[in-house]
């Protein structure tokens, strides 16, 4: 799992376990982030998803995994929904 901020976008990559929730919340709380990128995310723990839902930040990229994408439709999806190639 990697959590990094790049160009005011929080990138969640790999499998984000429950422990990531706190880190994500922290990162969002610090400010300076106005979008989420889940392109390389393989799994989101519910707790992490909850943090994202609560933050209501737009999503730059949906995860590549179709199953995960279907469920993540709840995330505000303001920009291109397609997978980055």
């Amino acid at each position: 799992m990697t959590i990094r901020t790049e160009e005011r976008t929080l990138h969640l990559e790999g499998s984000c376990p429950v422990e990531a929730a706190e880190e994500v919340l922290q990162a969002l709380g610090d400010g300076g982030i106005d979008a989420i990128d889940l392109n390389d995310c393989t799994h989101l723990h519910t707790a992490v998803l909850q943090v994202l839902l609560h933050a209501r930040l737009p999503l730059r990229h949906m995860p590549a995994l179709p199953s995960l994408r279907a469920w993540l439709a709840v995330l505000p999806n303001t920009t291109a929904p397609d997978v980055k190639t």
Binding site: A21, H43, T46, L49, R56, A73, V74, P76
Partner: protein, 816 residues
Amino acid sequence: MNDLLEQFLLEARDLIEEAASGLLEIERDGTPERMNAVFRALHTLKGSSGLFDFPPLTTLLHAAEDRLSALCRAGAGVSPDLVDLLLQTLDQTSEWLAQIEAEGRLPADAPVAEARLVAALRSGLADGQAMGSAKRAAMDVPPALVAADAVLAGLPNAQRQAITDRIKAGEGLTAITYTPASSCFFNGDDPLGLMLQVPEVVGCSIAVPPEWGGGEAFDLFRCELAFHALSFAPRRELEALLRYVLDQAQLTEVDPAAFAEAAPSDPGSTPSLSGAAAAACAILDEQATMLETPCPPEALAGRIESAAPAAGHVLAALGEPAEAIAQAAAASRAAASGGMLAGAIRVAREALADKALADKATPLSPSWPGVGRPSAPHRRSADARDKPGHDEGAAPLSGEREAPLPSAVRPGGDAGPPKAESTDRGSHVLRVDQGKLDLLMAQIGELVVAKNSLPFLARKAETTYGVRDLARDIKDQYAVIDRIVQELQGAIMSVRMLPIGQVFQRFPRLVRDLSRKLGKKVELVIEGEDTEADKNVIESLYDPLLHMVRNSLDHGIEAPEERIAAGKPPQATLRLSARQDNDQVVLEIADDGRGIDPAKVRRRAYERGLLDEAALEQMSDRDAVMLIFRAGFSMADRVSDVSGRGVGMDVVRTAVDQAGGRIDVSSTVGQGTTIRIRLPLSMAVSRVMSVHVGQHLFGVPMDLIVETVKLGRHALSRIGNHDACVLRGKVVPLVELADLLELGAEACAQETEIPVLVTSFNGQTIGLVVSGFGENMEVILKPLDGVLAGARGYAGTALLGDGRILLVLDPRELMP
């Protein structure tokens, strides 16, 4: 090790005990009521284990919990084999916990053991599970619309049409509403992960609490989401997937007719209510109807109690005022009639319906596709829906499961029962590291010693400085301090006191396992488990008791046939009892087995070369029976894995000796054996008697002293190299304490009367010749440490009030 893990390990042990004793009780009495307690214990254990990264542990406990929950639902009895299996699971868990405590991780072979046990637990589960869920389904009110609607709202028309077509083609669509417990993260659950595994999902949505406006603080660790999914997968398959969370999830077949209604091909064009409002209205209708249905007065209270929060939930979740409901509920309660509440609910329902129709034009949550207000009430409704389903049974159930109205209305206030319970327990019991208590006790010990110096100071004031008034004042002050210190001592002792039941409760399991193994029928009777003793004493008890119980089962108690032949009932009774006797705890292990035959013991002792013939001849039967406590003695002809290695009873005596106790056996051939152990209540304060040997002062533990006598010279006789005397018809060998301590011959001067301290230990009576007797005192005994640690013959040291050090002897180690 972090605090959390430490706490978990502590709690886990208790929970394992609880589960194990519950299982044994279920097996013995066949009482399914205990099942819930066992289930709860396992559930909590599994839940807490999920906080840490020990997957095999959590998986194993999960499997055990499943097995139990299937049993609970099926209401089936428990076979001894299943109890064996569950106990094995608990054993494995304890073993792992010990390993985690020692090394911070599970053993390398844990996954293997886990797989084996899980396979065993899962086999035979399928039947029970299917039965259970069939029952469940029958009880459920179909909430298909709730999930279907929530999901469909977010679907494009084409997809919705495709689903409708498949349903029309006869495929079964199952709606899943999964509202994870708010504490589910602590159980190691990942609801999204679980939902991702749902096969053949055609539509899904996640409901977010309506009050999330953004910006407000929220609890990261509470799961506030709810999940809806529609799946064409067979119901059985879905149930298998969701088996761990069946209490939080609802599976419903979607009725094609209802579906068509709930999924208008062009939403917005029909004036019917959709989504939340429809579900809410349905729930409110249900509540009102339930209240209006005639029922016996005693059931009415229950209905009101369940309808009011349910309606309250729904309204609160939709952001509607719920005060009117609460008021009406109070009025209904007072009037013992459901009419008022039903009326209020109907009014609220109409208001809601009107409002929803009016709102139809404007989407409720424009920025949140598929989430937000419309879906939130479904989550509440899932809770509320349980209630009317139970009808009459709702009153006690709702009392147990739901918080009262005010907190239940609070969004997400419905924490699961296990959590609520653990906080309850936590508020009354404080777990403290024993080291801290030991420190406290050591300091109080110091205080006792410091306090004891005051009388010396008073004497000094009087004799050395000649101020008698000051001396008197010091003595007065001493009396005050003395009283406080005594209370303090009593308080710390009582903190350290634990009920003996803590040790006893391990035995039902042991007796069960052993008697099964040995093919004997034994009933274990436990008495006086509330008797309290110091923690150290309690802990020192387990090993001796274990050996004695094993011996009793192996040697004492006969096989059923033998018992019948002897005219006894086939089931033997083993009685473990404890009681307090002054400042001692008396423990008895009594069986009604074959008893100990003194002649046989003598013979065996002779064969093993423990004693010569002459000594055995002289020995009374009672003393002969005591031989079973000699090292190397065993009555068994062969070594079994139960006992017979000739170490057991020796261990018992050593342990009891170390704890400052005494052991005694009485046995009647053919009728049984009773072993009695006396232990001091507390080992913190020892009673010693001080004796003078020449210029030196020594302490001798009081419990070894039989009596003090002063003998005239004429009473001494010389047998071989030793002096001896005759006391109450028995020959007592005399030993000069000065010789034993190698203090030189200065002691025993040519006095007319010789002070003799008659002591008894290791089954023999010995007279210690001293120069004079001092006083009895209570001291805090400190073991020798540092370079003196290995010195034999000393039990420890104690500080006297005047600052001198009293060496306390251990005559057992002094004897050559």
